[in-house]
Amino acid sequence: MLGEVWRSISNGAPMPFDPKEFFAVAQHVAEAATDATLRSAINRAYYSVFLVARDRLRVDGTSHGSVITATREAHRAAGEQLGELFRLRVIADYNLDPVASDNNWPQNWKRAEALAKRVRPSVEALVPPPRG
């Protein structure tokens, strides 16, 4: 249905990818509940929000720091929560031996999942800054 609407207003161009699908992937992947899948799920959950924020705020490039800062400036709570998702994601992706408090992956995933669910609507509602 959404696809048909999009095609009717876009001269048949394919509908842009909705990062929300990454969150569905995250939840699916997390079901296996191993450290590897939970780390991967956190990564996807983060990108499901980050990409929306980058899009809404029209931040050029791929600087995560810039997107998080811009989100904080537009909506502090969303920016702070996106920032925490980012930290979880960095630990998940890069840190093979985190400190004990950061090394509980079922717990980290639950936190990331709750954060992504909370942040997504706020980020979707962000108003792009004026051009110029």
Partner: protein, 197 residues
């Protein structure tokens, strides 16, 4: 691993509620940077003011937290009025803490705000940790002030939303450099109880 740093002095304490104020004892901005050590880390440096007495906290096995309700348990950690900074074993370098007096006072202001917000809203708290998080590849380098609350995820997220509004109110009241740090170099994090619903 624990080090004592000059430049941060505990100048006031309120044992009843754990409120703590710090001031910079250096008088020259030029020497401040020499006193404060910067460590560029990928992640995971923990710089915590005080000492660990919350070892039984579910997420503080290595992150030092300061119990707000038990001042006496950590007051002994201070060494001649200087802050004892603890780091996690994850640190790849010695030294951390604050790069400038403004950074230290911005953190102190945010801590104070978090503590007052929790009191005002009747939120049970289990401590505050201060960590530096840096990931230069992604242009992120900030101090993360985490307040541990005895709430479940939804209530904690609601509280976090309220705290964020209060932070927005705090920033204009800070001095220029502190405000800039609070705006761009400081993250406020609320950690809920993982076992709470």
């Amino acid at each position: 691993m624990s080090e004592t740093y000059e430049g941060l002095e505990e100048v006031a304490t309120e044992p009843a509620d754990g409120t703590r104020l710090f001031t910079d004892t250096s008088t020259s901005a030029g020497t401040a940077d020499q006193r404060y050590h910067y460590v560029g880390l990928v992640l995971g440096i923990v710089a915590t003011v005080g000492t660990l007495s919350g070892a039984d906290h579910p997420f503080s096995s290595s992150v030092a937290t300061i119990p707000l309700t038990d001042y006496s348990s950590y007051s002994g950690a201070f060494n001649d009025g200087y802050v004892d900074v603890q780091q996690s074993s994850h640190s790849v370098d010695d030294g951390i803490a604050y790069r400038s007096a403004a950074e230290a006072s911005a953190v102190a202001a945010v801590r104070e705000l978090l503590e007052s917000q929790a009191r005002m809203r009747g939120v049970p708290t289990e401590g505050i940790s201060v960590r530096r998080f840096a990931d230069h590849e992604h242009e992120v380098d900030e101090i993360v002030v985490t307040q541990f609350v005895g709430l479940g995820p939804e209530a904690a997220l609601d509280y976090w939303d309220s705290v964020a509004v209060a932070i927005d109110g705090l920033i204009p009241a800070l001095a220029g450099e502190q405000a800039d740090i609070a705006r761009r170099g400081l993250a406020v994090n609320i950690e809920w109880r993982p076992d709470a619903v």
